[in-house]
Structures are given as C-alpha cells and as structure tokens.
Amino acid sequence: MRSFQKKLSEFDARGIRVVGISVDPPEINRRQSQKLGYTFPLLSDPKAEVIRRYDVLHPGAGPKGADIARPAEFLIDSSRIVRWVNLTENIAVRARPEQVLSVFNQITPAGQ
C-alpha cells in the first residue's frame, strides 16, 4: 500500500478514494498510518464481516490461526458497481497503483 500512498495525488486528481481494509483494530491502523505516513483511511474489520461478504477471507492464515483477509483489490464506481477486481494467486504479488489508474482511465471517457 506504500506504492498507493506514493501515487495518491494521481488518485485524488481523478476523484478515486483509496481505502484499505484488514482485521486490524483501529489503534493498530492509527499507529501504522502515522508510522508509514498513510493519508488514506484504513478500515478495521476485526470480525471479518465485510471480508467474508467480499469472499476474501483467508481462514487461519493470521497469527495464532486467526482468520484474516487475503490480498484483493476492487475498483467500485459511483453507482456501486464493481468495475475491476484483482484476486492474486500469490500473496507476495499485489496490484500496483498504475494498474488501477489505467483501468480507471479506460472506463472513464476523457473530459467527463
């Protein structure tokens, strides 16, 4: 997500909100945001309710066998329609901000 923070101005310029979701509680998210200089929100889903709703749960993959989210990225438009999904097959390989920006540029005609 560091790479998204670096490109945040390009997301802002297009009117795209970047937001992270994990099972971490708000105090950890606050500490991490401060430490890493994140200016986009990190949402806390400790019971993995939203994570389950999006079917991106990774059961038992967290510390002490806790359920956590698997890496996954969604681009949702203003009508709440999913316009792009990235479900990696390798935990180490994540979506890059350039991918999301390029998808947005393609689905949004210029000048709108």
């Binding site: 997500m1 909100r17 998210n29 990190l42 949402l43 949702i76 390798n90």
Partner: protein
C-alpha cells in the same frame, strides 16, 4: 605445508545465507517481490562458489582445506534454499480461490467499519464526492 584457506566455500555459504535473509529487504520493492530474482541470484552465485570450493578441496586436498566443512556447509545451504523455495513457491501461493467475490458488473456489497480514528465509514461516505473507490483488502500488520 600449510593448506590455503578455501575462501570460495565461506563466501559461497555467505551468499546463500544472505539470499535467504535479504528477503525482507527485497520484498519492499515490487520488482524484487513479485518474483524473487535478487534472492535467487544470490543463491546461484553462492551455490556456484560453494561447488567450486568443494571441488577444489577434493581435487587438490594438499592445497585447499574444506573437504568436510565444505560438504557440511553445502548441505546446510541446500536446506536453506529448499526452505526458501517451499515458502516462496508453495506457501505464498496457498491463497483461497474467492470464487464468490463480487465480479465486474456486480453491485459491491455494502460496508460500515471504523477507520483509524474510530469513526464509522460506509461505502456511501467513501463514494460521496468521489468518482470511484479503490478497496484494498490486505493481510494486516497485526
């Protein structure tokens, strides 16, 4: 005659150990994280030096040391490379299929969660005044 220090064995072993422990560093950069080129290169260089060192220890034992510790370090290096390969090429790929994740064209499930300042945030809040939301699910910092 005192036999020579077989540097290739030690440097090679150091290369393999470095290849393993530098993963945290190289994982910071997408180009060396998506595929562990840097770590595999260190393994290759370290492995080649180890083999070179062991061969000359056996080929010219009167000149070079390292017949025994060369083999021991080579065995340890192989175990380290095997461990790395297992973690990177098997464990990291054990990701759930997420077959019921919302697809392109489907309506995104609603959400209402606390942000880092303990303020509730919904999908509607994120979309108000913006044209899209990039939702990034991540494993967490714990």
């Amino acid at each position: 005659m005192k036999r020579k220090w077989n540097w290739a064995i030690w440097v090679g072993f150091g290369g393999v150990v470095g290849g393993l422990f530098s993963y945290g560093f190289f994982a910071e950069y997408p180009i060396t994280r998506d595929f562990p080129w840097a770590n595999l290169s260190l393994f290759a260089i370290g492995g080649a030096l180890l083999i070179f060192g062991v061969f000359r220890a056996f080929g010219r034992p009167q000149l070079y040391r390292g017949k025994i510790f060369g083999l021991i370090l080579t065995a340890i290096a192989l175990l380290l490379i095997a461990f790395f390969s297992y973690e990177i090429f098997y464990v990291l790929r054990q990701v759930p299929l997420s077959t019921h994740a919302p697809r392109i064209g489907e309506r995104a499930p609603d959400l209402m969660l606390l942000d880092q300042n303990e303020q509730p945030v919904g999908l509607g809040d994120l979309l108000s005044g913006s044209r899209a939301v990039a939702l990034i699910f991540y494993r967490g910092f714990w």
